[in-house]
Amino acid sequence: MSLRKFTQSVDGTIPIQALMYNDEELISTQDGVGIYDGLQKSPDHPSGTVHVTNQRLFYIDATKRASRSFFLELSRVSRTDYYAGLFTSSSKVTLHLSTENSAPEEPSQSGFKSWECEVCAYRNPPGLSPSASRICGLCGVPRSLPVTISSSNVPSEVPQSTLASASTSALSQRSRKPSAIACPACTFLNHPSMQTCEICSTTLPKAVGVSTHIEAKSAPATRPTTPGPDDDDSESKMLKLSFRRGGDKPFYTALKRSLKGQAWGVAHPNNGNEGVRSGICECMFSSLTLHSNRFLLKAGIMQVVETNAQHRDTNMSNALQDLEALMVKAKDMVRLAAELNERLTASSTTTANNPYSSSLSVLSSTSTEPEEATFIRSSLSQLGLQMENTPVTLDMMKDEREWMEQLARELANVLQGSEKGTPSIGGMMKERGIIALDEVWGGWNRARGVALIPPSTFLQVIPHLAVFTTPTITSRTLNSGLAVLHTPPYSRAAFAARICGLLALAGPKSTTEIAQEEGMTIGLTTEMLNIVEEDGDVCRDDGQSVIQENKGDILVLGEVDWWANLFSGYTWDGQE
């Protein structure tokens, strides 16, 4: 009957996702569905789950999944009817089937085999639906039948394969298992969908697989033992789905949609006509016709590859030419720079007796300056830059001594402000009488900006500083090793005298108060006071000696108060 004629058995224990082709999608699922074979209830399919995909309709039996399940290709459905149901009669969907539409000669199994396109040699992956696997996934050329491949494309293999099939025929016949192809080289039993051996990559004898398949086709396992009367009336060409547990409406709409979509026909070539090509194929080989032989097609691909390579070649050579042109230009630039240099040197001789640059007179009074210095100076003045802010560099100087002196002069300007310049700028020591050496070094180099002074040079410059500064700035190293630059009021004796006077006048003071008074940092003040204490001019009152930390005014624990020295000259005035 129609059920046996149009459906193919499937193992329902496998999940539906695994049963589907790669390009197949599940659209709807409904359980509690019975099957009518024609007008009669099919006794073997009372209840099960029906899945509709965009290509097929699966019936998975609820009780005997392995033996009673089947699928139906939707391409065979010509028409559908819907019956809403009445009282105890459940709603039904009738599928009218037709034989004429498609009767695929190819076995459905071919979809599960990987195959190689004889045109572009692309190895098509297995698992595609029969319609999709009929054309190459890459170039869209329809696939010729497997038999013709083995005979025409690789004729050299023919004797080998027949030989192999002959040698393994006994084995294959004994095992009677189409799922194993013995490798002619290593005898490994490969899966029938393999074309080469999984172990040694030897080409497997396809003949064996084909022959077993043909056998299977001639007597398939699903073929019933007793075929029913094969009448060709309309009844036998229909199948009914009885929805015993509802869900019929959404399922029917899904089925209609699936049938309308005709996914099986999208990439399906017309029967007997190989002219249908994919879009990519058309644009790539628009000048070629597929009806000409496939060797021409092959040549077309090669041509495209060659054109691409040629394009790349041209691009590369263009880029190289640009690079060369750039190098030529660079030579020009260098020449231009040299010319500019010469012109500036020439103009500097005129600026030497030009009265407007007063700052120049300090250094350019001697006409024996090195050429580089002249160049730098002149170019800077040409550009309108003030010479006052220009850092002194070694190449401007004649010898080491002058270099040091010029540096000292520059440093003096940084510290005390320029004598000649605008007084508003001020130096680092304008407000402060004492300053740490590291701060000076950092400040000086920031002021220079270029040609920074290393610490060693800086230390060499310091002794020269006294000559160029008013008041005299000298350096001093405190107990902790901290070096400072200071003006005369911050020398050892002067500072001690000042502190003693302060303490005598205003009473004891804490370090913080003295630091505030002197405008120094607390750390520096502590250092300075320690030196004063060393001289015995002051004595300390450690805050740790207090009985109560918060008696009266707030006392900071650990803070040292400084007193004028009470002890020197003290005589006992207590009880005798």
């Binding site: 000696s545 009470l566 207590g574």
Partner: protein, 193 residues
């Protein structure tokens, strides 16, 4: 700030420097430190004699409520001597032989020699002669805790031993073992030679 002397509740006249906060701090400058320490030693000796105190401990500076509060603390200026400074002062006293560590081999407690052991020996012999106890055997207890208060009342036993030892060197005393422990017999001085 004018510093002034102060009379304590025990009728002791504190020196003016005791009102100066730096006096309570261990000075870093060596000269200042030696002067301050000198004043401290003098203060401790004089106060000990005033109160007849024989020992001073570092603990006395750590917490109030002992005999030395008036000296080691000055509530009026909110200052106290730190234990570290007192330890230094005691060490200086021991090195100047004005005190001795008692018990020995530690540095937190001293026996103060506000009279030197030689002076104590004379005081002891004078007292024995004046009370007519020469040539009689006396226990240590009879000397340090007599019924009538004497200059020797409360004298620590170690100091007493030292005084007796000095006397016995000039044959004016002799240690005798008796039933209750130790006794001492004094002899009249023989021309002080």
């Amino acid at each position: 700030m004018a510093l002034s002397t102060h009379t304590t509740t025990t009728d002791f006249l504190l020196p003016s420097i005791h009102s100066a906060p730096p006096f309570f701090t261990q000075q870093l400058h060596p000269a200042s430190l030696s002067i301050a320490t000198e004043q401290w030693i003098q203060l401790i000796l004089k106060y000990a004699r005033h109160r007849r105190l024989f020992t001073i401990k570092v603990e006395d500076s750590e917490a109030p409520g002992n005999n030395w509060d008036e000296v080691l603390r000055n509530e009026r200026i909110n200052r106290k001597v730190l234990p570290s400074y007192l330890t230094y002062i005691l060490a200086q006293m021991v090195s100047k032989k004005l005190a001795v560590y008692e018990p020995p081999k530690q540095d937190r407690s001293v026996l103060i020699y506000w009279r030197l052991p030689e002076e104590w020996a004379e005081v002891l012999h004078d007292w024995v002669s004046s009370t007519g106890n020469l040539n009689t055997i006396m226990t240590f207890y009879e000397i340090t805790d007599p019924p009538i208060a004497s200059p020797l009342s409360g004298l620590p036993i170690p100091l007493l031993r030292q005084a007796i030892a000095i006397l016995s060197r000039s044959n004016r005393a002799q240690i005798i073992a008796i039933a209750e422990g130790e006794g001492v017999r004094f002899f009249p001085s023989t021309g002080k030679a």
